[in-house]
C-alpha cells in the first residue's frame, strides 16, 4: 500500500501556486447561503472590487432584511443593518453626512421593490450618489419562498400555489426599467452571476459604478438576476437553466442606462 496522502489545506497551499486569495474585505465567517445561491458570488466580487480599488477604509455598506440580512457578517467593511425596505433611506443618511465616502446598499427584491419601493424610487430620483445592488431572484427566500414583486407570471411560490396570476396578483415589477427612466440616475444595469463570464461582466459593472461614485456622478443601480434553488425547489444547475429560460426573457441582461443616457434596447430574442 502506498503512503496515505492527506489533503491538508496547508499542503495544498504550499505545493501549488496561489491562484485566488480571499480578499481582506471578506471575513473568515462561513456564509449561510444555500448551495448554488448567487448571494455569495455577488458578495465576493463586490468585496474584491472594494479591495482592488483600495477602498476598505472609505466604504460603508447597508444590509437589508431578507436573505442577505447578515451581509455584514461576511463583508469586512463598516456596515449598518437597515429595517426592511429602508436601506436606501439609511444609505442616503450616511452619504449626505459623509459625501466623500463610498456608500452602497445591498437589497433583495422584496426589500427594494415591495416594502421599500418609495425609498428606492425617491433615492434614485434625488440622484443620491450611492450604489444600490439589487438581487432579483423573484422570490422571498428567507421567509420560505413566498411571491415577490418580481415573481414571473405562472411561477409557483408558497403564496401563489397555482402560479402567479396577473389578474389578482399583478405583473412582475420591472423596477430597474422604471429607475432607468428617472433623469437623476447615472448608471443602471442588469447582470447575472450564473456563469464565469457573467460573473466577470457583473464585476466590471460594480467597478464602473464605484468609479462613478468616486467621480460624484450620482445614483447607480446594479440588478443581479439570480437563482434561488431552495425557494424555487430546484437543484442549482436546473435553477440556472430555468433562470436563463424563464427569467432572462422578463429581465434581459445588459445596461439600461450609462452616463445618464438611456440605452435603446434591442428586442430580446431567446
Amino acid at each position: 500500500m502506498s503512503e496515505e496522502i492527506l489533503l491538508d489545506e496547508k499542503i495544498i497551499c504550499e505545493e501549488f501556486d496561489c491562484v485566488w486569495e480571499k480578499p481582506e474585505t471578506l471575513t473568515e465567517n462561513k456564509m449561510h447561503y444555500c448551495p448554488g445561491c448567487g448571494h455569495g458570488v455577488v458578495h465576493k466580487i463586490l468585496m474584491e472590487v472594494i479591495e482592488e480599488m483600495n477602498l476598505q477604509s472609505e466604504t460603508i455598506g447597508v444590509a437589508p432584511v431578507g436573505c442577505s440580512v447578515f451581509a455584514y457578517n461576511y463583508m469586512n467593511v463598516d456596515m449598518q443593518g437597515a429595517a426592511h425596505g429602508r436601506a436606501a433611506a439609511v444609505a442616503t443618511g450616511i452619504k449626505r453626512m459623509l459625501p466623500n465616502k463610498i456608500v452602497f446598499s445591498y437589497q433583495g427584491d422584496g426589500d427594494l421593490a415591495a416594502i421599500g419601493t418609495a425609498e428606492t424610487i425617491h433615492t434614485a430620483n434625488r440622484g443620491e450618489n450611492i450604489l444600490v445592488i439589487f438581487i432579483n431572484n423573484a422570490i422571498y427566500g428567507m421567509t420560505g419562498g413566498q411571491m415577490a414583486p418580481t415573481t414571473i407570471l405562472g411561477m409557483k411560490t408558497s403564496t401563489t400555489p397555482f402560479g402567479r396570476e396577473a389578474t389578482s396578483q399583478g405583473f412582475p415589477f420591472k423596477i430597474t426599467d422604471l429607475i432607468a427612466q428617472l433623469p437623476a440616475t447615472h448608471f443602471v444595469t442588469r447582470q447575472s452571476v450564473h456563469t464565469p463570464n457573467a460573473v466577470r461582466y457583473c464585476k466590471k459593472a460594480i467597478q464602473k459604478a464605484i468609479k462613478y461614485q468616486k467621480e460624484n456622478k450620482g445614483y447607480c443601480l446594479i440588478e443581479v438576476v439570480s437563482n434561488c434553488p431552495s425557494g424555487w425547489k430546484m437543484t442549482p444547475l436546473v435553477s440556472n437553466k430555468w433562470m436563463e429560460e424563464n427569467m432572462f426573457p422578463q429581465y434581459p441582461i445588459g445596461d439600461l442606462k450609462d452616463n445618464g443616457i438611456l440605452i435603446t434596447k434591442k428586442e430580446f430574442t431567446k
Binding site: Y72, M79, A89, V90, T92, G93, M97, H122
Partner: protein, 355 residues
C-alpha cells in the same frame, strides 16, 4: 454683553436652537403644526452648514436619521402625531441599535388624521416605547418657547450621553405660539468619543463597526435587552427633571406638563384666591417620570388633580406613583380642545367636593 432676546414661534426657536447646538443634519417631512421647523432649517440651517433634506415620508426621514447618526453625526427629525406614528418602526430600530438622535413631536389631536389643533394624546406612544419591543425614549416636555429652545441642547446632550433617542414632546400650541426667547445654552460638537461604534469607514487599526438591531440568538437578544433595561434604570435614577410650584403647605397638588401645566398654573392661582392651598408639579421629563417626588408628596396631600389634553394618559403614571395613598382626580379635553383655567378650576371644585 446683555443677552439677545428674540420674539419667535416655538417651532422656529427649536429650529434655531438646533443650529446653535451644532446639529449637523436634519431629515423631515412637512406636517402641520410643525412644518416651520423644516422650513426654518431649509433656509437658516442650510446657510449655516447643516445638511437638510426633505424626505419622501416620515418613514424615510427617521431611517435617514438612523444612517446619519450611525455615521457619527448629531442629527434630528421633527414631525407631528400621525408622522410620529409612521416613524415608530424606525425609532424602535434606533433605540435597539442605540443611536443618539433628537425626535421632535409637535403633538396634534388624534386618533387618525384627527385635527391640526394642539393635543397631548401622544403621551403613551412617546413614553411607553411606541414601536415594537421593550425600549424607552428619553422624553422632554417643554411648556414655554424658551424651553422649546433649551430642551434641544439638553436633548442632544442626553441622547449622546446615553446613546439613546430623545424626544421633545410639545403640543401644537407650543409650536405655533410666539414668545420671547434667548439662546444662552451651548453644546460642544464632540462631547463623547463615538469612534468605537460609528460607521465611518473601517480603519486598519480597528475591526469593522456594525450597527444593527438584529441578534438572532435569543440569548444574545436577551443580553441586549438587559443592557437596555439597565440603561433605562440609570436614566431613571439620574435624569428626572420637574418643577414644583407653590408647594409650601399645599393640600392639593395639580400635576400637568406642557401647555396643560401653563393652564394649571393659572388654575392654582384662582384656587388659592378662593382659599384652597394648591401646588403644581410640572414634569419636564416624562420619561424618566418623577415617580419619587409624587410618592413622597402623596401621603401628605388631600388630593391630587391631573390635567391633560387627552383622555388621561399621564394619569396612569401618577396613579402608579401614588399607589393608592392619595385620591387622584383628572380633567382632560381631547381632539384639539384646550381647557381654560376657569374650566379646570370648576372641575377641580367638583372633584374636591367628592368624598
Amino acid at each position: 454683553m446683555s443677552k439677545e432676546i428674540f420674539f419667535m414661534k416655538g417651532n422656529e426657536a427649536l429650529a434655531e436652537a438646533s443650529i446653535r447646538a451644532n446639529c449637523k443634519g436634519y431629515f423631515g417631512y412637512p406636517i402641520t403644526p410643525q412644518s416651520e421647523v423644516l422650513e426654518y432649517l431649509s433656509e437658516e440651517g442650510v446657510k449655516r452648514g447643516m445638511v437638510v433634506l426633505q424626505a419622501e415620508s416620515e418613514v424615510a426621514s427617521i431611517n435617514m436619521v438612523y444612517g446619519a447618526s450611525g455615521a457619527g453625526f448629531r442629527v434630528m427629525t421633527s414631525s407631528s402625531s400621525p408622522g410620529i406614528s409612521l416613524m415608530q418602526e424606525g425609532i424602535s430600530y434606533i433605540a435597539s441599535a442605540e443611536l443618539p438622535c433628537l425626535i421632535v413631536n409637535i403633538n396634534r389631536g388624534g386618533p387618525g388624521l384627527g385635527t391640526i389643533q394642539p393635543s397631548q394624546g401622544d403621551y403613551f406612544q412617546s413614553t411607553k416605547g411606541g414601536g415594537h419591543g421593550d425600549y424607552k425614549l428619553i422624553v422632554l416636555a417643554p411648556s414655554t418657547v424658551q424651553e422649546m429652545a433649551d430642551f434641544v441642547f439638553d436633548g442632544f446632550y442626553l441622547a449622546e450621553k446615553y446613546r439613546n433617542p430623545v424626544m421633545i414632546l410639545a403640543d401644537g400650541a407650543l409650536g405655533q405660539m410666539m414668545e420671547k426667547v434667548s439662546f444662552t445654552k451651548t453644546l460642544e460638537q464632540n462631547l463623547f468619543d463615538k469612534s468605537s461604534w460609528t460607521t465611518t469607514g473601517k480603519q486598519n487599526s480597528r475591526e469593522r463597526n456594525i450597527i444593527t438591531s438584529l441578534h438572532i440568538q435569543p440569548e444574545k437578544m436577551e443580553e441586549v435587552n438587559l443592557h437596555l433595561q439597565k440603561k433605562y434604570k440609570t436614566i431613571e435614577e439620574n435624569e428626572v427633571q420637574y418643577e414644583l410650584i407653590n408647594s409650601e403647605n399645599m393640600e392639593y397638588l395639580f400635576v400637568a406638563y406642557g401647555l396643560s401645566a401653563r393652564i394649571s398654573h393659572r388654575t392654582i392661582e384662582i384656587a388659592n384666591e378662593n382659599g384652597f392651598k394648591c401646588g403644581l408639579l410640572r414634569p419636564k421629563t416624562l420619561f424618566p417620570f418623577p415617580h419619587k417626588i409624587l410618592e413622597e408628596l402623596s401621603p401628605k396631600l388631600k388630593k391630587i388633580f391631573v390635567v391633560e389634553m387627552n383622555a388621561g394618559q399621564m394619569l396612569e403614571d401618577v396613579k402608579l406613583s401614588v399607589e393608592g395613598k392619595c385620591k387622584v382626580g383628572f380633567y382632560g379635553r381631547m381632539g384639539g380642545m384646550i381647557p381654560s383655567p376657569e374650566e379646570v378650576f370648576e372641575k377641580f371644585l367638583e372633584f374636591q367636593k367628592q368624598i
